[in-house]
């Protein structure tokens, strides 16, 4: 079964290494790209070749479409894997790949466009049968519409930018008198940040879990899900810990969400890997939030419980193959947890740190996986996001998995002048009684930070 001859990886850091690994295992040559900030040859050793595409600023390197396309053409690559972030959800980039005879490893440009727009995604998914939070499907045109809609759905409500992401342009409104100022501010922010001032409004859940369903579809109308992940441990919408399957949910809820996600994906003709994000309330009502049309940071959680190499599946599906897996083949076992070790200082509000790693000894041993681009001597720079390593553990049950993760983080030795990591904070979360009994929601990290600041 042939895939591609040569794949250019339009990314950096751990995900570029992750993709290169599967390429090498498949006998597909890999082309890395790097900015001047990433030119340490030890980072490049995972690729068969590497092209220097621009200066440190990502807009001029990793997000520089002409440079990436030219690098692919000059090296004779036949496909581009965008990873996550950077160009991965840019429909124009996907289009330009196609125009240049390069396979974009991801959904079709049109799917990226309509599913990336929250307004059209919500409409499509509602029509495909996914439950939405009470609120507006279409953008809120004016203050009067905002008042009427908010009254209808009931407070608290949340205002979100149609083009938003990563928590930007969101505002929670708890009483009617806060509504109009918040609405006006949200549109202003959306206009300046995203160049698109459309906002919508929906019911805000105070105690919700973030649960997502991994789907995988080929270009021939076949699709499966690969179980759920809970990503409720977040700080300002940045995930810190993910686990699968989502804990403390009934099989019925998990099955309902998973089946609905696959049906919706097939209904819109989705291809590739995709993630359907839901909010789940304390009564296990679940509401569709958005779709991520790319591989996720937390995909190893799913790989650990399903035995499936998701990047491999991405390559096969992108190369036009029919899915080799059926829903019956996916029988998730045990529990997997991922911790993101970021080069941030949890004692200084998670400020990114930089410096050379005098020590970098990642954990190992039974049922422990580490994905990282770092090594002893690596220079952690200030240019990109601060993800240093992902630690993933598996165990037959959640308690053992938590204990295993605690052990793995305890032996993870990272040291360098000026460098701090999130490891101590992650260990605090792992020890938190609410988290240990899986009774937490997205309010966990803010509560822990408040406790700490209160002298706890």
């Amino acid at each position: 079964m042939t895939v591609f001859r040569k794949v250019l990886i339009a990314n950096r850091g751990e995900i570029a290494v992750r993709i290169a690994r599967t390429c090498r295992e498949l006998g597909v040559r890999s082309v890395g790209v790097y900015s001047t900030a990433d030119r340490d040859p030890r980072v490049q050793r995972h690729f068969d070749e590497a092209v220097h595409i621009g200066p440190p600023a990502s807009l001029r390197s990793y997000q520089n479409i002409p440079a990436v396309i030219e690098a692919a053409l000059l090296t004779g690559a036949d496909a581009i894997h965008p990873g996550y972030g950077f160009l991965s959800e840019d429909p124009d980039f996907a289009e330009i790949c196609a125009d240049n005879g390069l396979t974009f490893i991801g959904p079709k440009p049109r799917q990226i466009a309509v599913l990336g727009d929250k307004s059209s995604a919500r409409r499509l998914m509602r029509d495909a049968g996914l439950p939405l939070l009470p609120g507006s499907v279409e953008p809120i045109a004016n203050t009067a519409a905002a008042t009427t809609t908010a009254a209808a759905v009931g407070y608290p409500v949340i205002i979100k930018a149609v083009a938003g992401g990563g928590g930007k342009g969101m505002a929670v409104v708890r009483t009617p008198d806060e509504l109009i100022p918040a609405y006006t501010r949200a549109r202003d922010t959306a206009r300046s940040v995203f160049g698109d001032d459309r906002v919508y409004l929906e019911r805000y859940l105070d105690r919700a879990r973030h649960v997502e369903v991994q789907v995988l579809c080929d270009g021939h109308g076949n699709g499966i899900h690969l179980g759920t992940r809970d990503c409720s441990v977040q700080r300002r919408h940045q995930k810190l810990i993910e686990e699968g399957p989502a804990p403390a949910l009934s099989t019925t809820t998990i099955d309902t969400m998973s089946d609905a996600a696959v049906r919706a994906a097939l209904a819109v003709g989705y291809t590739g890997v995709g993630t359907f994000e839901f909010l789940v309330d304390e009564d296990e009502n679940h509401y569709f939030m958005e779709i991520n049309t790319r591989i996720q940071v937390e995909h190893p959680v799913t790989e650990a419980i399903t035995d499936v190499d998701l990047v491999r599946e991405q390559l096969f599906v992108a190369a036009g193959h029919t899915l080799g897996l059926t829903q019956q083949d996916i029988q998730p076992r045990g529990v997997a947890i991922e911790c993101r070790v970021n080069g941030e200082d949890p004692d200084r509000d998670f400020v990114p740190t930089a410096g050379t790693l005098d020590r970098f000894d990642p954990p190992g041993g039974p049922f422990t996986r580490v994905d990282t681009h770092a090594f002893t001597g690596y220079a952690l720079g200030p240019h990109y996001d601060s993800l240093l390593a992902k630690v993933i553990v598996w165990a037959p049950d959640r308690e053992q998995a938590l204990n295993r993760m605690h052990r793995a983080l305890a032996e993870f030795d990272v040291a360098g002048l000026g460098v701090a990591t999130t490891i101590p904070f992650l260990q605090r979360v792992l020890a938190d009684p609410e988290f240990r009994k899986a009774a937490h929601c997205t309010a966990l990290v803010p509560r822990m930070q408040a406790t700490k600041e209160a002298g706890g």
């Binding site: 001047t36 900030a37 030119r39 621009g54 690098a71 000059l74 220079a379 720079g381």
Partner: protein, 158 residues
Amino acid sequence: MTEQHDPPVHGSLAELREHTRRLANDLAGALRRVSVRSGDTTIEVEWQEHPEPADGHPAPVVASAAPATVPTDDRIMVCSPMVGTVYRASAPDAAAFVDVGDTVEIGQTVVIVEAMKLFNPITAESEGVVAEVLVENGQSVEFGQPLLALAATDGAGE
């Protein structure tokens, strides 16, 4: 590592040298100085204060932007500001923009780099004489790759 594999050493200076070598290799830690004297024969060795990391990898350089012009020794490199294909002339049958020995002025086009079907003239940012052309017509170049070497003209260095 074991003593018994060491070759026999004879003769006072050779012996001293061999003993010095063995001693230095047997000792832990970073040595600064070893002195061995036997009778009127002496060997002294001093090490540098800050040895390079043993792996030989250069310290990573964090450059802040793409230099289009990089001075190297007394030559000035004109580097590609983008990934693309180099053309040395405006058309297949036209003369090269510049050749070895030509004098170039600031702002003068020296090659074209094509990227995504856009032809980008690459201009000299200093004046000088073309000392070497480092790329061929139609060659692929990376970001930052040297294209030409210029020798400074008189007074260009000031």
